[in-house]
């Protein structure tokens, strides 16, 4: 196998993986703090993608620009969802949470079907077909922009959690719920904030992914599963871990597709998952929970 093909595929895998990582980041944040398994994760991203398409049709603004209003809207949605519905489910058994979010997912998917129809849709940005030629590498322009945006958003999120008071408070909740209560933190508000942030993340990721792939109402579940695989691989509750997990999965799928038959490449992502769960269940960068 010639080196330049290998490199091309690897670079493409890494860039796509970064965007996957951002999507998984939202899930990691939600699960790491609120401990709710968001089975409607992919569907929320689908909603954001459709929002981007609608706005693009109306205003012709690049999805990366519309990222901001869409992420904000998703934040509000997530906040309301948490406060209104999900909060009461935190103490409920896991299967109750699953059922709640499965129900929400079903509603979202079919509502999108009715409103937007079943045909695949996308945005036609001016640079949709550009690529950069760097020596033997031909790198897809949209992937570079999307991956770049993903890094920026991830960095912002990381800064928020590391350096702001609210961010630290949220991390405290995650590490020690009882302790947080004792110290007087308004845990419910923090949970709502976190869920909102997670949804904002996934909304941003949706805008970026729209540059790379088309959207139909039914793409959600595959992304939800992918997000879980990445989060578990990278480490639940670890932000760099989510990005790292994303890169790992993106890279593995790409290389496996190159070396073996591409139609089996998703098996490799699952194989990684199983291996991770066996030998390092906290993920690459996760903390070992007691």
């Amino acid at each position: 196998m010639q080196l330049d093909i290998f490199l091309n595929v690897a670079v493409g895998g890494i860039l796509t993986g970064l965007v996957y990582g951002l999507m998984a980041l939202g899930l990691s944040v939600i699960f790491g703090v609120v401990r709710v398994v968001n089975f409607a994760h992919g569907e929320m991203m689908t909603m954001a993608m459709y929002a981007a398409i609608t706005l693009f049709a109306a205003f012709h603004l690049d999805p990366l620009v519309m990222l901001i209003p869409i992420a904000t809207a998703m934040f509000a949605l997530g906040y309301l969802l948490q406060v209104g519905l999900i909060n009461s489910f935190i103490t409920r058994p896991e299967h109750s949470q699953f059922l709640l979010l499965i129900a929400i997912a079903i509603i979202i998917v079919n509502a999108l079907l009715i409103v937007f129809g079943p045909d695949a849709q996308n945005v036609q940005v001016a640079y949709a077909f550009d690529s950069f030629k760097i020596g033997p590498l031909i790198v897809d322009a949209t992937k570079v922009y999307a991956a770049g945006a993903a890094l920026v958003v991830a960095a912002l999120l990381f800064a928020f959690f590391q350096y702001t008071a609210i961010g630290t408070a949220i991390r405290a909740c995650a590490d020690n719920y009882a302790g947080a209560l004792v110290v007087g933190l308004d845990v419910h508000r923090l949970y709502a904030l976190t869920f909102g942030l997670g949804c904002a993340c996934v909304g941003a990721a949706g805008c970026m992914l729209l540059l790379l792939f088309d959207v139909t109402p039914v793409v959600g579940p595959a992304y939800t599963l992918l997000a879980f695989v990445i989060v578990i691989t990278g480490g639940m509750g670890s932000m760099p871990g989510a990005l790292l997990g994303g890169i790992l999965v993106g890279l593995t799928e790409a290389i496996a597709g190159l070396l073996f038959t591409p139609s089996a490449k998703s098996m490799f992502a699952f194989a990684i998952l199983v291996v991770m769960l066996l030998f390092r269940p906290q993920g690459i960068l996760g903390k070992r929970t007691t």
């Binding site: 299967h95 699953f98 499965i102 699952f270």
Partner: protein
């Protein structure tokens, strides 16, 4: 044994159960083929839900990849029939063995390495997906092109080869459900059942009391897997075509768990009630929308989702415990 079976059950419940059984035995005589099809779906998901419930309700392990066992059962029996003309009942024996091995594999991975809760659920999904993609490439079962069973006419019911009128499948599933129901009850009332209860309530305490939790959790998993594979055999011989994309799909797994979730996880009657309610609501919605002349694809699924939402919010334990309390049927020792 009868005493053990009925210990703690109020006589009202026994009478109702018996009445229900008689009704189900007689139903095919009165309903048309359309309702028969719906009833078969109810029995199918009721049975699969009962089998799934053993892993979750009794051993506390949430499996979201039960389609794996359905698929293994379906493909094993179907392939043996298509290639060698082997009866599905013999094929079932092989299918159960394979499902048990798969279940043991999943259980071993999970329990030996202390994977629980969400992680276990994701593991089960991953294994099922792995099987789906794997079978897509398996030539012997025709891969993604689909495995078609040769269909004979419905002239006579051939129980040995499961060829015949849907009524035959109805009664086979009914017998299976009764056996599964009684069997689960026996298991619950046995020593094994008490160990399971202990593990479900507090695994640490159970272990410190000297119970070999690994051994008993594995038992729950393999029993559940083996039972589920029978549902797969029925699926194969009833629909007569199999595609990995359909049989191992995560939506199949979700359909299986919806019944117990709605009806009441961990209860015996929950999965059956849940399966009935779900099909009833689904078909009811479709018929209602048809009658109202609303032709909007996707609308009945939205209403279905809303109903699910309402149930999960209003009745967190499931419909059966709520109903049982209302009817005064609760068991004294539950």
């Amino acid at each position: 044994m009868i005493a053990r079976l009925t210990d703690g059950v109020p006589p009202r419940a026994l009478v109702l159960l018996a009445a229900l059984l008689i009704v189900f035995l007689m139903l095919p005589i009165f309903v048309g083929d359309y309702l028969l099809t719906v009833l078969i779906l109810i029995l199918y998901f009721g049975y699969a839900g009962l089998a799934w419930n053993i892993m979750m309700g009794f051993a506390g392990q949430l499996s979201l990849g039960h389609a794996l066992y359905v698929g293994l059962g379906a493909y094993t029996a179907a392939a043996l029939y298509v290639h060698f003309g082997i009866s599905p009942w013999l094929g079932l024996a092989v299918a159960v063995v394979l499902a048990v091995i798969a279940g043991a594999f999943v259980g071993f991975l999970a329990f030996r390495f202390r994977i629980a809760g969400v992680y276990f659920a994701i593991l089960t999904i991953a294994v099922a997906e792995f099987a789906r993609v794997g079978f897509d490439h398996l030539g012997w079962t025709r891969g993604s092109a689909g495995l078609f069973l040769p269909v004979a006419q419905y002239a006579h019911n051939d129980l040995w080869y499961l060829r015949g009128h849907p009524v035959m499948f109805y009664y086979v599933l009914l017998v299976a459900i009764v056996l599964a129901f009684v069997g689960s009850r026996l298991l619950l009332q046995s020593r094994l059942g008490y160990f399971w209860l202990a593990i479900r309530e507090d695994e640490e305490a159970a272990r410190s009391a000297g119970i070999d939790t690994f051994h008993y959790k594995m038992l729950a998993v393999v029993i559940s897997a083996g039972m589920t594979s029978f549902a797969g055999v029925i699926f194969a011989f009833y629909y007569n075509n199999l595609f990995p994309e359909q049989v191992f799909n995560i939506s199949q797994s979700i359909l299986i768990i919806l019944g117990p979730f709605i009806g009441g996880v961990g209860t015996l009657f929950g999965p059956l009630l849940g399966a009935f309610l779900l099909e009833f609501v689904a078909e009811g919605l479709r018929t209602l929308l048809e009658w109202l002349r609303i032709d909007l694809p996707g609308s009945n699924q939205i209403f279905f989702g809303i109903v699910l939402l309402l149930v999960v919010v209003a009745m967190p334990e499931g419909v059966w415990p709520w109903l049982a309390r209302r009817l005064g049927l609760s068991e004294r020792n539950q």
